[in-house]
């Protein structure tokens, strides 16, 4: 986009230098953040979580190559993530067994290659058509692989999975990759490389054709390109990075089991990309960070985290975040409704679980569920919030229609 804006004439030296360096600023900033982060948040859980976030970022970005860039909704992206992880674990074990001089730091390439290989194989079947057909074929393939995982035990390791030991590989610069900090830096480095590569791919002619296929495959065909081929290429590249993310996960956990290729994993990456926003490059990155945080933290707070999580697409499917003023008004109402509903749900969960007594603590307040008070309070809060939300809804809709109409006119939304 910026390249087209540069005038043709020879610009003065310092200006062109500034222009060519400008796009690098976010990347340098990202690298600095990645470098400094583990020294700011030094606790073990923070470092582990940041490692998980790095893995998820690569995975979500690779997913967005399909959903955001090419408009392909896949329900089986975890297949390439999981197979990448399995091949990495087997490769690491083989390297250890044979004493080959291969460092851990290069192992993600094995995962990437495995992802690419299976992307080439499965993509040849699934990318023939886009839209709903592709979504369903990807779901079928995902089920095929995840149900095969329970049969081919020697490769997938059955229930207990396959383990490895990352410290037994060749040591370069005396890095053992035993401490979490070293693993974090390994993941951070690969995360940065992958993100840069995925961004670069989106700027190539292929990346542009992907966008064109997303917008209007028929016109792409008229221009003389084959949309199927473009989809196939995007799919293979995306599978490569998914495999790479899987390899990073394998190195991080040192254990891989059949849940890696499962539908749950595919669902999570979909949510991550979608919650963050598929229209922007940074969207999936933010989504991956949020989702990983929620996954680790929310599951401690509430056993039904997936319920709140599942609402993500419901909300996101209707809204685009350009409506802050109207949303501000609705936010208070929505927060009240949500707080009431969450209170009710949490109380219901406790109440329906036998042998745990009727006392519970919510937001620091101890409640006795045997009395009607908390239930009425929660219900009233939810109803009042919902009523207020109903009152603000037309305003929000009005603002939304204005915003989306504007976006459509300027060609930013299909």
């Amino acid at each position: 986009m910026s390249a087209a804006l540069v005038p043709d004439g020879p610009p003065s030296g310092s200006l062109s230098l500034r222009r060519s360096l400008l796009p690098l600023v976010p990347w340098v900033a990202a690298a600095l953040v990645l470098l400094v982060a583990p020294h700011v948040l030094t606790s073990g859980i923070a470092r582990t979580m940041m490692s998980l976030m790095g893995i998820m970022v690569v995975f979500a970005l690779s997913y967005n190559m399909l959903l955001g860039q090419t408009g392909m909704l896949s329900f089986g992206h975890a297949v390439y993530y999981g197979l990448g992880a399995f091949f990495t674990v087997h490769a690491m074990n083989a390297v250890i067994r044979n004493g080959l001089p291969v460092p851990v730091a290069l192992m993600p390439l094995v995962g990437g290659a495995a992802g690419l290989l299976f992307g080439i194989v499965f993509g040849s079947v699934s990318t023939r058509r886009g839209g709903t057909a592709f979504a369903m074929i990807s779901l079928g393939l995902a089920e095929l692989v995840s149900s095969s995982a329970n049969i081919l035990r020697s490769f997938f390791g059955g229930e207990e999975g396959i383990t490895t030991n990352r410290t037994k590989l060749l040591r370069v610069f005396d890095l053992s990759f035993g401490p979490q900090l070293q693993v974090y830096y390994l993941i951070a480095a690969w995360c940065l490389i992958s993100a840069a590569a995925i961004y670069a791919i989106s700027r190539t002619p292929l990346g542009r054709m992907c966008n064109a296929v997303r917008e209007n495959p028929e016109r792409v065909q008229f221009v003389g390109y084959d949309p199927q081929l473009v989809r196939y290429a995007a799919f293979c590249l995306s599978a490569f990075f998914a495999g790479l993310a899987g390899a990073l996960a394998a190195i991080n956990f040192e254990i891989v089991n059949s849940s890696y290729v499962g539908l749950g994993q595919s669902g999570i990456v979909l949510l991550a990309a979608f919650i963050g926003g598929t229209g922007f490059f940074v969207g999936p990155i933010i989504g991956a960070i949020v989702v990983t945080y929620l996954q680790t933290m929310l599951s401690d707070v509430t056993p039904v985290w997936q319920l709140y999580f599942g609402h993500g697409p419901l909300l996101r499917a209707r809204t685009i975040g350009r409506l802050l003023p109207a949303y501000g008004m609705a936010a208070v109402a929505a927060a009240a409704a949500a707080a009431g509903a969450i209170a009710l749900i949490e109380m219901a969960v406790v109440a329906l679980r036998p042998n745990e007594g009727s006392l519970t603590t919510l937001a620091g307040i101890t409640l006795d569920l045997a009395t009607a008070g908390p239930w009425l309070g929660g219900g009233a809060l939810a109803l009042a919030g919902a009523a207020a939300l109903r009152w603000t809804a037309p305003r929000v809709r009005h603002a939304w229609e204005r915003a989306s109409g504007e976006a459509r006119r300027t060609g930013r939304v299909a």
């Binding site: 023939r128 057909a133 490769f155 419901l314 996101r316 499917a317 219901a348 299909a414």
Partner: protein, 317 residues
Amino acid sequence: MLELVLVSTLNGVLYGMLLFLMASGLTLIFSMLGVLNFAHAGFYMLGAFFGFQISRFAGFWVGLVAAPVLVGGLGALVERYGLRNVHRHGHVPELLFTFGLAYVVEEVVQIVWGKLPVDYRVPGLLDGPAFTIFATNYPAYKVFMLCAALAIFAALLVALTRTRVGLVIQAALTHPEMVAMLGHNVQRVFMLVFGLGCGLAAMAGVIAGPSLVTQSNMAGLLGPILFVVVVVGGLGSLPGAFIASLLIGLIQTFAVAIDLSLGDAMGRLGVETVPSAGVLRDIWTVTVAQVAPVLPYLLLVLVLIVRPTGLLGTRDT
């Protein structure tokens, strides 16, 4: 051997008919709205749990009628206040909406009924064997399931082809604008069909609930197979869904009954070498019964390679 074939055929047809009860609604909804309802199996599960809950207060038979009606109403509400709003933003958000809905249904069911199977009993009237083939007692409830599924299938067929409402629905499938021009409320027809589809799925849930296990993961187990049925049969094709349902029902039931591995088969042909280890050995020793869960997906991939539109499908999405 004959006994095995007979019983497996009966079971296979029964399973296939149950699949068709759900697949018919799913494929109808797909032809109308152009969107695949990922939460369809969720409505099946809701049907089973509603049926269970109602049966505790009012007995099985009330549940058989009331649960599908309730779930159908719920489905109509989802279409009216959920899908229709999302529809404006295109297909992918619609798919995601139903995907999210599937999550929500499963979690809500887990919250209300817990993760363990509930005690959904076969009604006393049907608790016992109907007849005996060779040495196998065939349960009366399974006969009832088969009859109920067949009756619903026949009713659906008559309603779609012989009644006025059915004709309007059929017309709205292919020419929604024209139907609207003729003065029919197409939006309401869509809502009706969505509710009807969900009700059919719920009916399948109520019927299957006591026989299979009524548990919060039943939607997750059945959902993917349902998509296989719809895709293999051809998206939007009702006869295709029928054939595919029976095909998959029979394949799975027969596969479960065959306790034979590739190694055994090769052994009979005189090949005695067994691969020493690795994936090959797994493939060599795994029995057909163990492969049964994979077979529908294998069929799906094969059909997609050979005939991408599905068995009887004509339209490309």
